[in-house]
């Protein structure tokens, strides 16, 4: 039997984690074609 891989704790975020860049593409002002 293959030993079930030990559940690693959720990887802690590194110190100084930079959030992903704000959203692009931006809002639609009229309509999308």
């Amino acid at each position: 039997p293959v030993a079930k891989a030990a559940q690693h704790d959720k990887v802690p975020r590194p110190v100084g984690f930079v959030p992903p860049p704000p959203p692009c593409p931006g809002k639609i002002r009229h309509f999308d074609i």
Partner: protein, 256 residues
């Protein structure tokens, strides 16, 4: 110490919107054909720091054609974006700007415009007429007949065709051709033109007077032709924008 990288901008941040506004004004200012374009969406923005208070900004913009001809003095904010069922035309633009001490300047732009697909229009509005090709014979005949009709009635200057803006042909119910085209005043009165139309040339730049016409030709069930032209009066052109060239306006085009 190298300049800290600028915080990544979001596409809806005020700085992004300010850059997009400068870009759209530049694109409309440089364009010589068709209609003014309005911002529909900021697709992407990338900022590359050159030094303190000196950034290069790369913008990807999604624009939509408005109903204002490019030569119209109407401010862009008063121009209506052409609706989807009128067969919208989209512009995709890549623009490079520089921001030095908070002042934006456009270094260059490259745009491609294209009409929405006929399938999309038909899906949303099965009976809506779609854009006709510029070299469609019926379109050319309608423009010619409309301009002749206008010139035969006007007491003002004889008008010459500059370019066809757009055209649609409805085949049911009734056979109707609708066209929009740009015109320029010439150095002849309409009366003088009857004698020698070859001598009638567009007014020189310092007196130029452009305008725009809309014409509807009903071919069936009965024949009728309506044409309405508005001249803008002389406008002082921006120093680096040459006179409009006498070319037809292709539906899809690249401009840099």
């Amino acid at each position: 110490v190298p300049a800290a990288p600028p915080a990544p901008l979001g596409c809806d941040d005020p700085e992004s919107e300010a850059a997009a506004e400068a870009a759209v004004n530049y694109i409309n200012g440089q364009s010589h054909h068709g209609y003014k374009f309005a911002l529909n969406r900021i697709e992407d923005i990338r900022v590359v720091r050159q030094g303190p208070n000196n950034d290069i900004i790369f913008l990807e913009l999604d624009l939509l054609e408005t109903t204002c001809p490019i030569l119209s003095p109407t401010p862009l904010e008063n121009c209506t974006v052409r609706s989807f069922v009128e067969h919208a035309v989209e512009g995709d633009c890549d623009v490079k700007l520089q921001k030095v001490d908070g002042i934006l300047s456009v270094l260059g732009s490259k745009c491609h415009s294209h009409a929405d697909s006929t399938e999309d229009i038909r899906k949303a509005c099965p009976d809506c007429p779609v854009l006709a090709k510029m070299n469609n014979t019926e379109v050319l005949e309608t423009v010619s007949a409309a301009l002749n009709a206008y010139n035969s009635k006007t007491t003002d200057s004889y008008l010459r065709l500059l370019e066809i803006g757009r055209a649609k042909i409805q085949y049911h119910p009734g056979h109707i051709v609708v066209t929009e085209f740009a015109v320029g005043a010439t150095n002849c009165s309409a009366e003088e033109a009857k004698a020698n139309v070859g001598a009638c040339q567009l007014l020189p730049e310092d007196q130029s007077n452009f305008g725009f016409c809309r014409a509807v030709m009903v071919k069936s069930p009965s024949q009728d032709l309506q044409v309405d032209c508005q001249l803008y009066g002389h406008q002082v052109p921006a120093p680096d924008i040459p006179l409009l060239s006498w070319v037809f306006y292709p539906t899809g085009q690249d401009t840099s």
